[in-house]
């Protein structure tokens, strides 16, 4: 039985492959191209000085610090909430309910915050920015930190 159907099965696999392989190969490339080509001019970043000016002008920006707790305790932006990157998706109960609310993600240098920014975007938060240069740039610019 199996021997009888095996040529047909082989043909079916080849036919399906003819359609499936190119489509399967093109899909991630197209998606990635769409993602990269639509990156905004600021690459979803906000300068620390700009963020601080917005906070000082009364803008309700939710600042999430994705560093580890001991790094956070050593000094952070006033009002920031600590949700370490690896726990970000489990800590959404601390985030604004309005997914369009402005969010700034900060870490030490901007790398973890970039992952965090992408993750939050994938989770449907529409106004998320990575604080450019992280806390290193923040402190270099002489901006205030809280302990």
């Amino acid at each position: 039985m199996l021997r009888r159907f095996s040529p047909m099965l082989l043909i079916l696999v080849v036919v399906l492959s003819a359609f499936a392989v190119p489509a399967h190969a093109a899909e991630p490339q197209d998606s990635i191209n769409a993602f990269l080509s639509q990156l905004p001019p600021d690459f979803e970043t906000v300068a620390g000085k700009t963020l601080l000016a917005k906070l000082n002008a009364g803008e309700n920006v939710f600042v999430v610090d994705v560093r580890e707790p001991d790094e956070f305790k050593a000094g952070h932006i006033e009002g920031a909430v600590n949700v370490p990157l690896r726990t970000l998706a489990k800590g959404l109960n601390q985030f604004p309910k309005d997914k369009a609310a402005p969010i700034a993600v900060v870490c030490k240098s901007g790398i973890r915050a970039a992952y965090g920014t992408m993750a939050l975007k994938m989770l449907g938060y529409s106004s998320v920015k990575d604080v450019a240069g992280g806390m290193l740039a923040w402190e270099k610019d002489g901006l205030a930190i809280t302990k």
Partner: protein
């Protein structure tokens, strides 16, 4: 109208440069009576009393804080401040020193010069960038963003030239632009807008309708001068203001700012706040403060508090702080 010598003097009949340039006046409109007034008598008469021409606002401040030392300070003012004042030619044919000088468009006189060249060069540190949206992360002023209103749309020539009155400072100018001049329906009394009616005339429009603006630290003449984006609500520092609360910006005046020229020149430094009424040029209809009462009420960081003051600065700053932040609604 003759040749160059009509305004710039010199000797056009001379055969060599040094003889031709003898008695040359590089910036003739510094003495507008001698050149411009021949055709523009009324404008020159008004302009000579204007704040643009005299820098009287700064002069009056220095007179006040220097007190009996004014005679020593006056030459410094004349050298450091007054040389920046705008004469007729500085707006209508040439560019400011801060823009490396030179002519705007050959030697063509412009009745209504482009604002980037004429206004944006002298006011390019704070006002022009915020009006045109050059402060990163913040939009341009809505009057520019939506209507492309240039500077003279609100500051017409009659105001820039002055009206012949020797106003003590810009706040006192009768013809200065006002929000209600174009938006009479925004008047607080009887306003259908709840926030306008609730706050009455107590709060300057800019408190809710402007974004951030630039404030300065330390003196232009001294070391460590820097600027940053600020936003602070405080009590008005201007006696005669119709408002009780307004936005304040830090001004670049320090106690020792004239020390390199005149030691201990400002005995009355503590009489005038260094936080002064800001006139932000970054108006938006909707801001964080129009979005929610609690973006101001209970939000201590947007008010100028006693703890924000530098104790080395003017004691008069204590008059403009807000010790008790209004509670949340």
């Amino acid at each position: 109208m003759g040749g160059c010598e009509t305004c710039h003097m010199g000797d056009p009949t001379a055969s060599d440069k040094s003889a031709a340039h003898k008695g040359l006046v590089p910036r003739p409109s510094r003495n507008p009576d001698a050149v411009c007034a021949a055709c523009h008598e009324k404008e020159v008469a008004n302009a000579k009393t204007s704040l643009h021409f005299t820098v009287r606002g700064d002069e009056n401040y220095l007179k006040l804080v220097s007190g009996q030392r004014w005679a020593d300070v006056q030459p410094v003012f004349a050298q450091a401040c007054q040389t920046c004042h705008a004469s007729c030619g500085d707006c209508h044919v040439s560019k400011a020193k801060s823009a490396r000088g030179g002519l705007m468009d050959g030697h063509t006189f412009s009745k209504r010069p482009p604002m980037e060249e004429a206004c944006g060069t002298c006011h390019g540190g704070r006002v022009f960038p915020e009006y045109t949206g050059k402060n990163e992360g913040f939009p341009p002023d809505i009057h520019w963003q939506k209507a492309k209103m240039d500077c003279v749309a609100c500051h017409p020539a009659t105001q820039l030239h002055g009206d012949g009155t020797a106003y003590p400072n810009r706040h006192a100018v009768k013809t200065k632009p006002s929000c209600l001049g174009c938006h009479p329906n925004a008047k607080a009394a009887g306003s259908p807008i709840e926030q306008h009616a609730v706050h009455g005339d107590k709060i300057n429009c800019v408190v809710c309708h402007s974004t951030v603006y630039r404030g300065c630290e330390n003196c232009h003449l001294g070391a460590g001068a820097k600027s940053s984006l600020q936003f602070k609500i405080g009590k008005t520092a201007y006696v005669g203001s119709p408002y009780e609360y307004t936005l304040l910006r830090h001004t670049p005046t320090v106690r020792t700012m004239l020390d390199p020229k005149v030691k201990d020149a400002l005995p009355n430094y503590d009489a005038v706040p260094t936080w002064k009424d800001a006139v932000p040029h970054n108006i938006q209809r909707k801001t964080a403060r129009t979005a929610s009462c609690n973006n101001c009420h209970g939000n201590a960081r947007i008010f100028l508090k006693p703890g924000d003051l530098n104790p080395a600065e003017s004691a008069a700053n204590s008059k403009v702080v807000v010790p008790n932040v209004p509670g949340r609604r």
